[in-house]
Symmetry: none
Subunit: 419 residues, 2 copies
Amino acid sequence: MNAFLLTVGDEILLGQTLDTNSAWLGRELNLLGIRVIRRLTVGDDHNEILASLEEGFRTAGLVIMTGGLGPTKDDITKKAIAAFYGTELVFSEETWQRIQRIFTRLGRTVTEGHRQQCWMPANARLLPNRMGTAPGMWFDDRGRILLSLPGVPYEMQAIMEDAALPELRQLPGVTPIIHQTLLTAGLGESEIAQRLEAFEDALPAHIRLAYLPSPGLVRLRLSAYDGQQDIRKAEVDQQAEAIRALLGHAVFGEGEDTLEAAVGRLLSGQGRTVATAESCTGGYIAHRITGVAGASQWYLGSIIPYHNYLKTSQLGVPAETLFAHGAVSEPVVLDMLHGVLQRLGADVGIAASGVAGPGGGTETKPVGLVWIAVGDMHHPRAIRLQLGKDRQKNIEMTAIHALQHLRLWLLEHRPETSG
Amino acid sequence: MNAFLLTVGDEILLGQTLDTNSAWLGRELNLLGIRVIRRLTVGDDHNEILASLEEGFRTAGLVIMTGGLGPTKDDITKKAIAAFYGTELVFSEETWQRIQRIFTRLGRTVTEGHRQQCWMPANARLLPNRMGTAPGMWFDDRGRILLSLPGVPYEMQAIMEDAALPELRQLPGVTPIIHQTLLTAGLGESEIAQRLEAFEDALPAHIRLAYLPSPGLVRLRLSAYDGQQDIRKAEVDQQAEAIRALLGHAVFGEGEDTLEAAVGRLLSGQGRTVATAESCTGGYIAHRITGVAGASQWYLGSIIPYHNYLKTSQLGVPAETLFAHGAVSEPVVLDMLHGVLQRLGADVGIAASGVAGPGGGTETKPVGLVWIAVGDMHHPRAIRLQLGKDRQKNIEMTAIHALQHLRLWLLEHRPETSG
């Protein structure tokens, strides 16, 4: 079964509101094996909505429309739907009673706009909205289904979860897809493609592999379409194992996992604590780490010696070392690591110093040059990176490289106790 | 002039990736007075892309296509475009040289996938991509323009800013709307609406005021539609001044300015330096500050005593104070401020300690309770916040409040020298 998602709203076309509803619906429908083939956004305009509904049903058996409902826009959307079905609007006494009950309870006064909301296309079946005043509407025209939902995300989601998804699950031809997403760091999209070339050629037709790259990371999504649920599940797990074998430590997690959470699991598993010393990343690594709930179990803290003299006063980097090699150098980043381990009393650490840009580059130390150090007192490891010219991206890429290199270090230097 | 935005990518339809590109393009085109009339998303499929291009040009003179470029998907998109124009792909030696140069600089190996990227539709004019390997493509078929851009947001934006937007601005029928955006902090949307009520009533019809709220901030956008450019410019500037007068210190900047940059301008103007001590925000304030280019002129660094004992060892907060009042308290946050000023030698500072959540709340210290301190040794100021239950949002709101309170403190405590 195919679905067509229709989003209505000038504010979306203007870019003032981000359309998160379509993404949420895409994920939910995909889990049901309903394939979203197109997403269309149009403005709050009768003819545009009408034309979009016709277009939607030319290509799909299910059209889900979000937005265009609520006190201010209601009539445009509903009149367009009524016109599409060649019916008219009728007053829903039931909805009117509900809205009045809600407002009495909230001690607010009902407006004319709310009374307008109670006019519905005659062929609409109303879906309860426990989060707001505008109910969802379900239309079934000889098996071609239209769902009209309010644009407010939590209202839309509530109506889907309470009423629409359970009904959609029962429709003929709806068979949930199996998939698994592997998260990788340290390899580029094309490097991975090369390593997986033979694997992809051997992949059966009903299992697909998708690359979802983002800066420093590539997500690999395996999806199985046909066949029995349990068999496909086993197949996908098996293919995922094959990918893990081919990519090794580049795979750090699954699904919604993060690199910092993966590092955290390793640290707690090994009973180790970590501290950070950040110059060019200016706290971004600490920010990502402390975004992991429960990080206080294994993260001690950070020293950010943004100014060079703090590298000496706060981390004990000898002024001579700074003078001789410059702040962005292997000796300095190794001294920073040593200093933060000693002063904060952590088992392992991350230190970073680089030229984030846009300014500050020189002939020998160009913008994008970054030195990272990871490890413990006895086995520190320094890594040199040459990144690009964009400050924000350099900061993000440095954090990702640092977390990935610490992860690799932890995998290679397990404490005796944890074998 | 009308525009049709076409997003290509299975990952968008599946909801695995949020389409932020269309929103960004919607805003930028709106600034040029180009109206986005439709947004369509289709999968990585030859026929779908081909059909969408035809559909796009039926309704608009400008089609901007994002996604579907990059080592793994390249050929589908480009073959579809070539088919649309009835031309074939030619090899771009120039692009091939560029990719090889980039990779040599990065010390990485070029793959077959990258060589594939160099095949372009014969009628494409290439737009430089300073952020990645895939160039943008500009097609002009008797005034009907197609732009094909990579889906990675920062690459797409770089190509638009460097090459595409300046050219679009020159097109016949493109008359940029005059706008000015004022950025405010510390006032809620309804508070602002109240203060501006009379102002808005008096606003001439051809000038509109839009409220664009985001967590902790409200952007106020003035737009002038008709009349001569220079006259409208003068009118908008005048109205902006009127708003500044009505909102006072709540207005911290214009356009793409940030609160941290505004704080930075004040500090450099006053010849002062700042340091931060962050517990609950775990480096996020430092991250925002160091996101400002040239921050090293006025930002010294930070100590992040995530673990309580570091509040004592690194910031000199007496253990008794921590014991008596708890880490999230006025005395502790004032001691943290004092400690960071003393140890890092900054003129002014920010200290923050709170219960970010989701766990860690108690009867007396619920999730969302945050104490902030700003100022110098002589005039420290402590502020208590009661935020919500969401960890990430609490961290962001704490940073915004801290920066805004430091800004107000700096405005009220100008050093004698700067009058």
